[in-house]
């Protein structure tokens, strides 16, 4: 099977053990994360070959980051080594009324210096069928918009499907800059993931009536937004997760796929959270998997929702579940009986 290509950054994630605050910690648990890398790892766990395209510093930490992708079966053959540092983030895991908090220290990471002409897309795409990137990658530096544009253009030349998760990050760029850049990239996109906040901030599309803080969702509003995106940008598949945050410990979780003028809504899960970081990425991976497997639309969104539901029960940011485990949840009850 041809590969899925992820393009983006790879960061060290430092988090205090358990529910400690940073000031309490004598040690940090470490993992290596990145929105698109997380998607690649999840796809690899589903049995889909995936290759990650990034740049890492040529030192023991850069090598350790790549080794972690290798561990989970993601190819690192197109990773370039150079630059002065790997980006990083500090994550305090929240609980109950205390939200998780993330401090980023990623500016100047190795990939930031990469632009158009940096990677050899002809080699990379030669055995590939899909490109996935998120709105984080073009936001990283002044050169990464060109990097993404080239990646998209070349992807189309090679006949790849292109998926994008808008993933707006206010600390990386302004809404104006985001819209300006993303509007150049969206014409290449076949599958777009955009939650309500992304759609509003990046695309200026607002359904009204939803309040992300209260956890009250407005499904109809979402449908309306999806339709607008689809129409404006000619994107066949629009999807989003629907998170109702009850607290940092408990969430309701479902997902929605808009395709061909129809909306497909998944089952809703009541989740007791182990770790919610990477939930969106695991959804993207589930969606790509469903589309690659040519599942029917309803089954695709059920798969993606169940995959990302399970992610919340997994430590760190990778969704280390198999496709079989996801299908068990899709078809089962989620009652958590011991499997012996």
């Amino acid at each position: 099977m041809k590969k899925v290509i992820g393009l983006g950054d790879l960061l060290v994630s430092f988090s205090p053990p358990g529910y400690q605050r940073i000031i309490q910690a004598n040690s940090f648990d470490i993992s290596y994360t990145g929105a698109e890398a997380n998607v690649c790892v999840s796809l690899s766990c589903f049995g889909i070959p995936a290759s990650y395209v990034t740049r890492l510093p040529d030192n023991a930490v850069g090598k350790a980051a790549a080794a972690m992708l290798n561990k989970f079966g993601v190819s690192t053959e197109y990773i370039c080594y150079g630059g002065s540092r790997i980006g990083l983030l500090y994550l305090e895991k929240g609980a109950s009324q205390r939200p998780s908090r993330v401090i980023y220290d990623r500016s100047g990471s190795a990939i930031c210096e990469a632009g158009s002409g940096f990677f050899d897309w002809d080699s990379i795409y030669q055995d590939a069928q899909w490109l996935h990137f998120t709105g984080i990658t073009p936001a990283l530096s002044s050169t990464t918009p060109e990097l993404c544009l080239e990646a998209c253009r070349k992807a189309k030349e090679y006949g790849l499907t292109v998926s994008c998760d808008l993933n707006y990050r206010k600390k990386l760029w302004s809404t104006q800059r985001a819209r300006q850049v993303m509007e150049k990239l969206l014409p290449y996109v076949d599958v777009l993931i955009a939650n309500e906040e992304d759609a509003e901030k990046v695309l200026g599309l607002k359904p009204g009536g939803t309040n992300v803080d209260t956890g009250i969702l407005n499904i109809e509003g979402y449908m309306d937004v999806a339709e607008q995106i689809s129409r404006n940008y000619h994107i066949p598949y629009i999807a989003t997760t629907l998170r109702k945050s009850i607290s940092a410990s408990d969430n309701q979780w479902s997902a929605l796929l808009y395709h061909d003028g129809k909306t497909f809504l998944s089952k809703e899960y009541r989740i007791h959270i182990v770790n919610r970081v990477g939930g969106g990425d695991s959804f993207a991976a589930g969606l790509i998997y469903g589309l690659l497997q040519q599942f029917e639309d309803q089954k695709t969104i059920e798969f993606a929702a169940a995959a990302s539901c399970l992610k919340h029960s997994i430590e760190y940011d990778y969704n280390l579940v198999t496709a079989e485990e996801v299908m068990e949840l899709v078809n089962g009850s989620g009652s958590g009986r011991v499997q012996r």
Copy 2:
């Protein structure tokens, strides 16, 4: 007070810390477990002398397993040393919609070579009043059915009460083989623990209407099954736990005792799970304790249900609570106020 004798295997249980998956772990937490051993430990914590009969390899791991029983007051004087290996299992603790998963590697464990004539029952029973075993022990090898049969027959000679937890394990034997063997053993049994699945798989008795996956229970169906077992096999006490699995993190839990044509149903607990493995064994221990203390039937089932409710709040497989702690829950509210 005379001893309770447990007969069965003792395994090393390896589990990744917290909610890690096996592939993530750099270390495994270890404990030493076995259905009947767990019962002995719980009884010992209740103040009942207990002795465990098994066979362990004569090496540092076998010795460490026995030492763990000693730590919790269970006598190991009748444990024989020999054989080539200790059985083991890998346990991934589940959370929310992700179930716990167990991988067994127990075939060829030291006890598997033991059969009739292997243990000196005359010594073992000389100061004993009760024998407990489960359906796992006869399922271990071709010789262990005879081992169990001898243990039961001798137990009756020495006037012991015999309890058995059917505990059907599909990876160890077929339902046909299980029924064939267990039907030879049941005539010796005075107290039988059999949940609905066990009763159906091993004894072919099905009440209809219950779905273990959905967590919807059928109390009346259970009563019907209990009555059939009691009638068919002349067993005075039939008991079961009633688990409603909401998720791997939350369960409803109660229990039922059938005796003399009457059914006694315990309070129901809403449990937030720390570790549910060993829940059934802790129930067996609670039941044996209630019967040994000659509690009234209702109090017996309340004690057993409360004991096993508390087990879900304890790490690893032993129910390390005192009889006083159980009675506090039986008589109290379970509201979890700090005890200073």
Copy 3:
């Protein structure tokens, strides 16, 4: 800003990792705790200068205890070194129906030998505006009632506000002794925290109708008690937390302030508990902060309730949150969205 002074003991708290019982543990997590010290740390995290007055043994453990206060910005300049030991406690963290359990080993701790004349209050109060103590301090030994009395009397000379948390501990003294001592101290108190149990046990005031074990609270009864206290002892501010214990894992939490004949009730929070120890102390700190900031009464009780709600999500006994974090919860939804 002038300092808040805390007076009391400082203990080592030993607790098994996670939900282990003491018998299972190979190591204990350690922290340094004390009702008034916890208040000082919380105030320091809110930006209020605080200084802790106690006595510690002149050894590595005493020094480590003081260093932990320093770490969180609490001044230790008035701590005296001497005496033979630091007090300690063992805490088993409960879960679900299993309550947390505390074993104290604090008699003969260094502060127990301190009485009237021991500390130099003239220096201590020279740059101070507030004294906080709890009913634990006078209960520690035969000399600490005099110590507290002197601290209170001197505080009034220097114009300090005095707050007290009744905090009745039945293992430290009898209700009779407690009433006898506390009635001498209450005339100096401006702000009293007393939950229903404290009020009844120490002051003999009982509202009727509440059962702390069932988690059913009687707000009106509380108001009645608050009014009696206010009238009997001429204390302008009476406050309490209102905990409904559902289990050791889940609680409902709110708080109440009585002032000028009016009662102010906070929002109620449904809390999934990480660690509930120190909840009351974090409430005291929140209350003192609100009063120091001259918040309106409703805002004060909301701040104190939100502060102590957040405490339940923090490991160990200190409420390591900023005033900004508390205000986010007061003004927000507590929905626990990731803060990036």
Copy 4:
């Protein structure tokens, strides 16, 4: 085989992980230690039945302490429960030029209230052949000298061999008090362990020429002291370890036995230290084992020296080695080849 009885205290030992200082630690490793308990555990590991006589508080920590003895096969049937606290100590493990440091907090431990008449020696000694105690036990309180005297007197009535390790602790009593008490106990002693410092401080016997700090030992001086002790107190066996401290990480280690006017000196070992605490206790156990096995004197001292040499490679205070492992070292090279 008849039992060896140990009489003494049992303490919780708290130590920071690795080489951390107390002020750095977020957790303490815990173990349960006591000079005579350590001897009992070692003997039990050698296959000698041992029973420990002490008093522990009736709480979870006291129970955990006893459970740890049970784990290693030491009987706890004669342990009495009561009293208010378990003694404890804090141990900072040293390295290189930094010595290990111990802070004791043991006054008022449960055993301190025990005196003559407290234990039922008739039951305890009924199946016993040996009593072991150290100079720490009579030093604990005003009643423990009588406790020890009774234990010794009764031991003689029952025909037990009595061994004593002088183990002078300057923080527990003065040299005058020590001599006064020990001189009443020595007439009952058959096997005495006394290093040079003990002999000088407690018995006032000084060989001259040795400096414990420099690690320069004076074997002839020791012999002279041993002869004096033997003559003065009519003790047939006098033994000591000979430690040359090069640093906290490296020591030379050998031992000496004086019997029947002859001196037996063991091999000397160059030890790279994992943990040296409990070295003396492991020597006592080795010595008792050799005498119980009726080894020749040279073999006895070689066994005791090798046993205690191995102790330095074991974490915590128990010498968890078998007699076979000790004999391997006695007969082998100590070259540390992997045993597969």
Copy 5:
């Protein structure tokens, strides 16, 4: 560059943290080890493509074992999944006079059922230049000698160089059986690693004068043995490590290569041991690297000796050092200055 192929088993290695004995441990550190796998990992770290051929059970533990090889860049594409279990071992790390101890539980591991015809050597060797195996693999079961024979024969057909480490394990087979099997395999071997014990036990060649326990080595004897092996079996390269065990903590380490009638002896290193397991495998990898790089013989043996010297400073069994790090030691002083 063409690949090096390793053929052998892959086991889980469980070891107590630090210097704990098995009976003390609450957790085991885990790693995945196998003599030939360790060689592959080391070569991969040197930049040589390597692929491991084995069979693993199709469960989470088997997958985790393969993932660990992937992490370090070793290809797992020819690993077959099936069989009932992964082999395992328990390792207690020794210190000072206490040797490390290994308990194997590897019989019936998945590879044991593989024999001739099991693997597709035509695919495996199509892009390969070297085969490495050890004497452990043919010792595993009755079918693995044929498996090795086929692997060797096919290797020669494809023009691969074949290296073998005799690695005699007395728990796996008798010396007679070993000689019988190995003599069929040696004709295919180009590079043989055989320490003195292997040579004597498997090939019956004894130089006299060496005592592995005392650490006294007989270089001339080794040369004589190497010459005999070379002559008898027509093997161009014979090599061995020369370990002088001072204790489990300190060793002297050097190595010797015999080629074309000449003997090349490396520098000798005084090693303070972190973990010596895998020392021999790291030597094999160093040797293969030197030969692949066509280093001169002296440089080859220096590289191999330095590589395996460094291994002793690395936790677990893989030699995670780069070729540059090895060359730094070959060319430098080993004085351990901080590299900033």
Copy 6:
């Protein structure tokens, strides 16, 4: 007593537990380090008031860094908050022949933007007697040379003693740039620490005959260099440590002070290393302490050498020993006897 002021950066230090390599680690131990901060912490442990001047980002990590200084008694009142990041480093601890390795990621740390006029030296110096900085601080950015120059000039205005550790770091600047900057700063320096490498690289002064890699030192050469420095720059006190690196695990350690034309050489210690990072900083602190206490020169260098010897036995970079502990080593044998 007036304060010692340290000026420099403060970094997070991440290191894998034990001797793991970065690629093996699932967690990093964390500490907060900086050459001058380490000096301040050590002085604070000796009882000297110290205050650290730096700039940290206004986030949880910056606050945690400052809190760690507070914990050890160092004042943080003059720390400014702002800038985008805290610098960091990754440290792999070496052993035996494998050196420790440090990867820096410190460019753009908050202090880098500080220059002349940034700090309020009039406030800072108002209660100060000593300024300490190292060659790292002026090397950090284009503005920090001016920052240091201002700090020095103002220090002289306020009558402070100024000490400097040359501490040349080749990754931060060239030798030319270093010399150019340092020659402007040296006129203000009263106490200079410069090892042979620093002197040669920064000041171009070379004694000949020493090889830092072989551990062979040339004391006379050092004296010559010290004299040249003293003469050229009119610096009264010149000091250096003398490290003979045997391996990453074992070092010989002594120190030398040049004053008034005389050279004072300390005792030499054979050190078994726990952690050597921070050794130079602990020497600077010891030296400053000796000079502040007005010890005689020989005692000063003995104190400084003993202090830094002890540092090697302490985890992480702070020298957490008291002046009493240092004096014990100065006066004692370093034989590492347990202190009870």
